[in-house]
Symmetry: C2
Subunit: 458 residues, 2 copies
């Protein structure tokens, strides 16, 4: 007497191929060599700069060299922001240089250095709660320190002070804005990152202090004397620039119009060489696709690897990609996952809310990931920035959670360099992305991608 069982979505053959992909990647995925190549031969590649142009050419050549069936580009347009010299110093009572870097999309100080007294707030909330003239004529300084967590959980609350602090400071009369870097390190290297000016307030210059410099400034202020700082930021936005999403495809054998997308972002900030943010993500997903492309038989559906343009200054490439999709295309996007959290090993896996028909499939994928030390964490995770715009449109997402314990030591600083990347950790990640993408492309049950109306932009 046998219980009647539905045949599982993913066949034993498909699971065997996935296991083979996993072992191939672990034996040496080639991802480190790609990170080395991008960081050495291109290096800094802030959107709209000559480095970004070089990165697009690099990505096209790399997709071709890695055996993708098709390589294409999609233009992406955005405001052109540039960074020149930046300098700060305490003028009194204790003259000392301060290490700062302008926040992305900040305006500069113009031809004349800004000199003003500093007023400290312990958090963005404290600044928000302060009286309307709390920073009148002064430089507002938010000194909150980010907490270290494996999942980067300290970034959310602290990051608000970067994204929105200048606008709040301006609303309190400030003439400049400084914040303690959103970072967990103790290095004299400030962390940049985007900020946005709200409408209706002055666009005041905004910069981050390194953690030791923030300590120094707070220690001076603690003495109770007025502290005057000089700030010179030769930065600003002028006109527009164009870059490109660079897209490589491994063509599916049965339903090539249906796609699984994986990717990272090709741009970086200008301070480092963008090794962990996000050469690693580009390399991991490109090599995962390439290993699938090297199989004797391709998966049923297409694997699309996307090196997104200009994530750093507003997720512009991903928004452009999503805006080009109609509702039918959302359905054809079976699922997407991105790698943009450094180069640490993957410890967890989850997907977006699933139809009942898909749960067994996801269990099968989770079982194929388990030998990599990856736990299934249903109900956890999220789409990530570059998958976000498609997820908002209704595409299902997969989440491959990386250990980001040290990510915010280096994130958006000059210290984001090749030496922070471990080749064996990259191999583990390529293995995970290859297993995930291959099995997702084999799944007939799918993951429930359904067109939705995204919420209005903030």
């Amino acid at each position: 007497l046998h219980a009647q069982q539905a045949s599982p979505d993913l066949s034993d053959d498909a699971l065997a191929v996935a296991a083979q992909l996993r072992e191939t990647a672990l034996a040496g995925s080639g991802a480190y060599a790609l990170v080395e190549s991008l960081t050495t031969e291109v290096g800094p590649r802030m959107a709209g700069t000559p480095g970004d142009v070089a990165a697009v050419a690099w990505a096209k050549a790399a997709f071709e060299r890695n055996g993708f069936d098709t390589v294409s580009t999609q233009p992406v347009t955005f405001p052109a922001w540039r960074r020149g010299e930046e300098r700060a110093a305490v003028l009194s009572p204790f003259p000392q240089p301060l290490h700062v870097t302008a926040l992305g999309l900040s305006d500069g100080t113009g031809g004349t250095p800004l000199q003003a007294e500093v007023v400290e707030f312990e958090s963005l909330q404290a600044l928000k709660d302060a009286p309307a003239d709390a920073a009148r004529g002064r430089i507002a300084y938010v000194s909150l320190r980010m907490e270290r967590k494996r999942d980067g959980g300290g970034y959310g609350i602290a990051g608000q002070a970067r994204t929105h602090g200048a606008g709040v400071a301006a609303s309190k009369g400030a003439v400049g804005y400084l914040l303690r870097s959103i970072g967990t390190d103790s290095d004299r290297l400030p962390h940049t990152g985007m900020q946005r000016y709200p409408d209706g307030v002055a666009r005041i210059p905004a910069a981050a202090l390194s953690n030791p410099d923030a300590d120094l400034l707070s220690n001076m202020l603690r003495r109770g004397q007025p502290v005057t700082v000089q700030l010179e930021l030769d930065v600003g936005t002028q006109g527009e620039a164009t870059s490109y999403n660079v897209i490589g495809e491994i063509r599916g054998r049965e339903k090539p119009d249906e796609v699984v997308i994986i990717g990272g972002h090709l741009d970086s900030w200008d301070l480092g060489t963008g090794a962990i943010d996000d050469a690693a993500g580009v390399a991991i997903t490109m090599r995962a696709g390439a290993l699938i492309g090297a199989l004797p038989t391709p998966p049923k559906r297409t694997i699309r690897v996307i090196a997104f343009a200009n994530e750093e200054q507003g997720i512009v490439g991903a928004k452009t990609y999503a805006a080009a999709q109609d509702d039918a295309a959302i359905v054809r996007h079976r699922i997407g996952a991105e790698s943009d959290f450094g180069a640490g090993r993957i410890y967890g896996f989850a997907t977006s809310a699933l139809p009942a028909a898909s749960e067994a499939t996801v269990q099968q994928i989770a079982a194929a990931l388990a030998p990599l030390g990856i736990d299934y964490l249903p109900g956890k995770g999220g789409a990530g920035p570059d998958i976000g715009p498609m997820a908002q449109r209704g595409m299902a997402w997969g989440w491959l959670a990386q250990d980001g314990s040290d990510y915010f030591d280096y994130h958006h600083t000059a210290n984001d360099t090749l030496d922070k990347v471990d080749a064996a950790a990259l191999d583990q990640q390529v293995a995970a992305y290859a297993v995930f993408a291959y099995l997702a492309a084999e799944s007939d049950a799918g993951f429930g991608s359904t067109p939705q109306t995204p919420p209005a932009a903030d």
Copy 2:
């Protein structure tokens, strides 16, 4: 039947006072507050700069505030070296900025940036062994990486490439000199430090690359194409400057003309705030002296705490101090010890070669240090840079060996800041210096200081 015993040099009373000093320091020595004060209120204090002037004023006031019986200064004159802007970049084949800092006493590149192809040597020895024209018209680059050791033992061999590399490179026809920073970190912060031009060769500009930048340059060179670098160093030596050894004394009760000297150096490099090099040493020895000064009864002999001027650019303050001593004064200097190896805990103790009459005394001191986790390591150690000139003249030295495992992560970089200093570790060191200095000043046996003719300067 009792064996006849000589009464020990150090009395039970003296040992009890030493034990009390030890516990007082461990309960909170006040050294951290001094480091915080010097790094916050003065900060960078390169010899001959306004920061150095402020540091001398700070040290005088600090000695007075800490209850020293006398505070005096001794002028010290040296070549005035200045650092302005410094900048480097790979021009081809892969344009990227490089993080560099000029070596101390280097000449600059003048008004025109230096542009030249780079030729790599794996060590100073390889550069020495190369043919006479091995670097003709090029920038010689020494890429040896320093090893991490508790006692800083990697510094000697690697440091030669900093001190002497430019001269050797010039002798091989080089027009510029780059080296991998003498440091154990992976931060994008180059390590400065002194170099010396020999006579008879061109004074070529000399700078250190941070470790990640050295990796990057080596990775580019490994590809076999010519790599051209542009170097701009607005630095140089002009005229002379004067600073001061600042000296505080706790006057001895019986033989005030006989002294035990302890100290650190007051100057720092300009890149960081000089917390571990050497605010820590100044603070530790100043607080050790102050705790002795606060005793109800002073020691038999005088405790002299010296904040030496301009150690970094040639041990100038210590040489000036030694040059002012006649042979009789050498004998009156019972022993000396310095703190100039960061802020890590002390793990070992030793002294210079001893007369037989002193060995029991040193054993007594070692026993008083043992509760601090300090091992007696006879035959190990040395005088250190600022005690060196007096040791060469024949003064006995004591060595309180610090754990320097992370010292060369921060040494001579912008990262030498307050956050690298642990208050409890400073307390342990103050305890050690207080015990050592007090008991040494109580000892009638002495430690064998005997005038000698120092070797000729190199």
